[in-house]
Every structure is written in structure tokens, then in C-alpha cells.
Symmetry: C2
Subunit: 370 residues, 2 copies
């Protein structure tokens, strides 16, 4: 038996749908020796992470913390805590991640109501309004940044409709957080989840979440236990808040270190500066890609600055050119999903990865290949 | 608003119930720049991790991989995949982690049957035999290394009883894997889970699991969907095996890097050498502690070499002395849980952390304090 050799992956420029390149300071932070998950110094780090997450989510919610798993577990955490079997849930679906929410709702034994829009288009508030006239859901859930299509979903009107209907408003901000504005309190969001590997520029491994007071009330008044022990906030809250810091599961220390440093970097730059940088590099990429014959899938005004979905030019060999980009230029771009497979690319410019050099590298490589 | 300062936790000697100190090579591996979760090079790393996990688990099971969350999620993954609502489950409980399994079984809507033993004692095979005469469970689950009490549970007889009764045999090896022998195939184990932050000496964040062919058959013949989308092996298998490598969730790249390096270190040392080292340092610690008036909680022959549960000497101030150890000597030891709070310590010598210097540091510090 021979052992695998030393870990030595080729350095890549990650311009896919995530993970993006982690910031070098975040990578360094991950080499920090471990301390215990009940060490007073670790409790201090947790408090700082919570406080920085509140700033990035723009919320006062005290139940704000990172779930100990990747973004999809954040989705499951929000839904499993806020839904009980038999509850009605209205899920907006215009891509992979809306579909995933619908799948989870059914696994929880809740009753699924859907609002569908074609992939690549936003959900219209009127659609939600019509759906709310026909059902009385406990939650309305929607994806802010549909990573499968590149659509940026406006949230305010849908949030008002949900609140007026007496429903909790749930938002997927996996790809948007740290790259475009996410205003939890101003937009009436009751529960939100994100991931660390997109615009926060840390490795995948944690799912920042935040729950409003209304959401916490709903959780406290549940008649049944949360179906997932691991994601049960009624227990997690005793570790992430309060005096006792009761052991629930062993926190992923190093991932928390990474998030700590990633959030410091976000706040050092400032949210507005960061959003502006994402827009600027999106524009730069857009101009270059359009010159090369790519067309944007999503209509103007609803495009994600950090995830550019572009329709490939006529006669363009999707798989072959992605292969050349990866093997010759060490650049990863994302393939299209579902009906967009072979026809669309998803080009990420996320967090630390949203910079002029990355745009220039990709455009120059494409010019050479084409 | 002032930002928290640079991450700078005090270096600690971690002699609690976990996390243990990560190996320096593992910490270095975590600084490796990210590559994509569908990158052919990452697929290669995943294959190597699977193959090394098979060696450490001593199994040929093809469904062997790390769940993307901590050890407790491994517990939930095994139970949620193998149980459907209404299924009978026989759970052996002699500490915190057996109780946790029982809790999860009830959340899944399965019917719980318990075999209980006092904390600090092993489960007797005759108890399981008697329980199996009264119910016909789909699974029998037991904890190999009860981290709350320090009991090492012999598995072979219980496994035979489970198999003879037509049940799947499920084992918690969170604390044992990599520190004492775990023979999945020889012992007839159908599903097993572990954690990375104990005797594998990587940070917490992944839960290695393995499922036998019988377990996979049970999963394939489920009548209901797995309740957790995130932990659903029927989908995870398409990412961790096979040609297509279908996207499920974004793998925690850096945690997989850490596990890769940790497993290399385990196999370089050799399993037998590693187990022998854990025993040797356990003996060294035992002799020193007994001289100081500590008594072992668990009777000889059933003690975990990597987690020493000791009853404190008369008049010993638990909290005060743990505080001095942490603040003056930077040594963390674990407190007792439940009825053992204030009366018992749990002293971990796990993986890289099981070495003579750690034993000597703790014993010397205790001699100075007492």
C-alpha cells in the first residue's frame, strides 16, 4: 500500500459559482492552533463573530450565528426550525435553489405551495400576492441571489406581502451576502442564511444565519421538536448566547477562525465600498464579454454583480473551452445547469475574487482561445 | 464601531474530550489555496480520502466518505438514512452520546427501544440479547467510545446479536477512530461515524462515515425520502462516487484538505503503532494520576486509552483547579458531565496529543498546584 503524496493542488483562479478564492489572510488564520470550544477565549471569538455578522446582515437580531456546516445546511436549518409537519409554506422557485427549498419543505412534512417563474427571470411580487390570496402560509421563502441563473431578486415588496399575510419572510442570501446589499431589518426578513465561500471569501464550511424576534417566537412556540437535532436552534442558542454556554456539538473551531478574519476584512473595506467594487468589476467583465459575443442571460437591472450568467456565442464549444481555461490558464468558470447546460456559463466575481486582474486574465485567455 | 483585533488565541495544550491539538502538518495543509469542488484535482483528493478512510476503518465499503459537518452530524446522517418513520430502533445508552442517539431516533418518528447501563459501565451483550427477544428492530446502535464516561465498549458480541436478529449494526466511533482498533468489516458493523477532532488530529468539521452493502440496500429500498436533504446519502453518493460527480452541496474544501493530511499522518505511523502509543501514554498518565490520589471511574479492561475519566481526590476544587491549569499552564482538561459534574475529570490524550510531554506537563502542573 502506497500513501497518497503531499497535498499539492494547482493554484487556480476560481471564477465559478463558488467556492471563490479565499483571501490569503483567511488562509493564514486557518493555520492558527486550536483552542477548546468552551475556552473563554473562544467564547470571545464567537461573540465577535456574532457582532460582525450582525453588521454584515444589517440586523439587530440576537439570534445571529454561523451554522456548523455549508450554506445548504443553512437552508435546511432555517426551514426545519420554522416549519412543523402540516404547516403551509409558500416557496418561490426560479432556479435550482428555490427547487431545493421546495424539496426540503416536503421532507419536513409541511404543505408546499409554489410560485414559479422561468429560470433567468425574477419572481414578480404580483405572483406572490396572487398566491397569498389562495393559501395562508406560515412562511414565504425566496432566493435573493439565484446562483443557478444569475438573477438578483428584489426583496422589499415580497417581504411586505409576506408580513401583511402574517407569514415569516425567509431569504436565501448564500451568494449575495458581502457582495451586494442585504438589509435584514429594513426589508423585514425573519430568517436568512448565507455561506462563507462566496462573497465573504472564506472556505466553504459555515452557514451564517439570522432569525428575527418573530421567528424566535415561532420556534419557541413549536408543538413538535425540530426534526434535525444537529440544526435545532432551541439548543444551539444555549451555546451561542447566554451565561451557561451549554455544550451542544463541538464547534468547527478553524472554520470560525476563518469567518472571523473574513468578516474583519469585509468590515475594514466597508460594505458600500465592497458593493461598489463588485459592480465595477461586473461592468468591466460585461463590456469585455459582450465584445467577444457573449450575451447576458438576465435582463439589465436584475443581474447579480458577483455571478454573471452569459449565453455562449453561436458555435462555441462549452466543455472544450472550459477545459482549456482550466488546464492551460488555471481558470475555473461555472457550467450552466439544467436547461442551460452547454449553453450558458456562470462567471463568478466574488469577494476577494472580484478584482480587475481576474477580469483581465479571463478576457485575455478567452481572446487567445477564440 | 471598532473592529475586533487580529485573531490571536493563546496556544493551549488540549487535554479535554476534544478538540485535541491538530497536527502542525494539518494546520499547514489548511493554508492551501482552494480549488473548486468539481475540479478534477479535487475529485482525485476525494478518492484518496475515501481510500485512506477505508484503511483506517478497516473496511472495503465503497460508501465511505466524510459528511460535511461535525461528528454529531455523522450520528444524524447514519440514523436518518437508515431509519424511516415507524421503524423500530434499539439504542444502547450508557452516557451522553447514547442519549443523543435516542433523541434523534424519536425526532425521526422511529420507535425507540432502549438498553440502559449506568454511566461509567459498559453495555452487557446479555442486555442486548434480552431486548432483542422483546422487539424486532431495524437497527441496533451503540457507542464504541463513550466520551462522557470513558468507557470502551466491546463490539463483536453485540454486533453478532444484531446481525442474527436481522438488524443493522450501527456504531459511534467519534472518539475511538485512529486511537484504538475499529474493525468495521471484521466486527460486522453496517454503519459507523466518527469525527476529525479527536484521534485523527484535524480540526472539527467533518464526520467520516461508512455504510455496508446491507446498509446501502436498506437505503435504496426506503419507501420515504431521507428526512434531511443535507445528509441524504442517496444524493451524496452521486458526488462521492461514480462517473458523473453530480453537484449536491459545495464540499468544505479546506476541511477535506485537513482530513487528507491527517489520514496520511495516521497511515504513515501505522495503525498498530498508533494504538500502542495511545496505550503507552494512557499508562503513563494513569500511574501519575493514581500517585496524586485520582481514581479511574471505569474498571480496568474497559477504559478508553484516549479519554481518561478520573474521580477527583477528596476535597479537590474542580472548577478552581481547572481554571488555574487553563490560565497559568494553558492546559485544558474536561469537566465531568451530568451526575459526574464537579466529581470527575475527563483527560484526553488523543492522536497527536497523546505524547509523553503532554502527560508530563499535566502531571507536573498538578503536583505544583496541589
Amino acid at each position: 500500500m502506497t500513501l497518497p503524496g503531499q497535498l499539492n493542488p494547482t493554484p487556480r483562479i476560481l471564477l465559478g459559482p463558488g467556492p471563490s478564492n479565499a483571501h490569503p489572510r483567511v488562509l493564514r488564520a486557518m493555520g492558527t492552533p486550536l483552542i477548546g470550544h468552551l475556552d473563554p477565549e473562544f467564547i470571545g471569538i464567537m461573540e465577535d463573530v456574532k457582532s460582525m455578522l450582525q453588521q454584515v446582515f444589517r440586523t439587530q437580531n440576537s439570534l445571529t450565528f454561523p451554522v456548523s456546516a455549508t450554506g445548504s445546511a443553512g437552508m435546511e436549518a432555517v426551514l426545519t426550525n420554522l416549519l412543523e409537519p402540516g404547516d403551509d409554506a409558500l416557496i418561490c422557485v426560479n432556479g435550482v435553489f428555490g427547487n431545493r427549498m421546495a424539496d426540503i419543505v416536503e421532507r419536513l412534512g409541511a404543505t408546499l405551495h409554489r410560485v414559479d417563474a422561468p429560470w433567468g427571470e425574477m419572481i414578480e411580487p404580483t405572483q406572490v400576492e396572487e398566491a397569498l390570496a389562495k393559501c395562508k402560509p406560515k412562511v414565504v421563502a425566496i432566493v435573493h441571489a439565484e446562483t443557478s441563473t444569475g438573477v438578483l431578486q428584489p426583496l422589499e415588496k415580497v417581504g411586505q406581502l409576506a408580513t401583511n399575510a402574517g407569514a415569516l419572510f425567509l431569504v436565501d442570501a448564500v451568494t449575495s451576502l458581502g457582495g451586494t446589499d442585504v438589509r435584514v431589518d429594513d426589508w423585514g426578513i425573519d430568517a436568512i442564511y448565507s455561506g462563507t465561500q462566496k462573497c465573504l471569501s472564506a472556505p466553504p464550511g459555515l452557514a451564517p444565519v439570522s432569525f428575527s424576534e418573530h421567528a424566535v417566537e415561532k420556534i419557541r412556540s413549536r408543538k413538535t421538536k425540530v426534526q434535525s437535532w444537529y440544526l435545532d436552534t432551541t439548543m444551539l442558542i444555549n451555546y451561542w448566547s447566554g451565561e451557561k454556554r451549554a455544550y451542544h456539538h463541538t464547534a468547527p473551531i478553524t472554520s470560525v477562525y476563518a469567518l472571523y478574519e473574513a468578516l474583519r476584512i469585509v468590515l475594514e473595506e466597508g460594505l458600500e465600498n465592497r458593493f461598489e467594487r463588485h459592480l465595477r468589476n461586473h461592468e468591466l467583465l460585461k463590456n469585455g464579454l459582450e465584445e467577444l459575443g457573449f450575451k447576458f442571460l438576465v435582463r439589465e437591472g436584475y443581474r447579480l454583480p458577483m455571478l454573471n450568467s452569459v449565453v455562449l456565442p453561436e458555435g462555441f464549444d462549452d466543455a472544450e473551452i472550459r477545459k482549456i481555461l482550466l488546464e492551460k490558464y488555471n481558470i475555473e468558470v461555472g457550467a450552466g445547469l439544467g436547461e442551460f447546460a452547454g449553453k450558458v456559463w456562470r462567471i463568478g466575481l466574488m469577494g476577494y475574487g472580484s478584482n480587475e486582474n481576474h477580469v483581465n486574465c479571463l478576457l485575455s485567455a478567452l481572446r487567445q482561445v477564440l
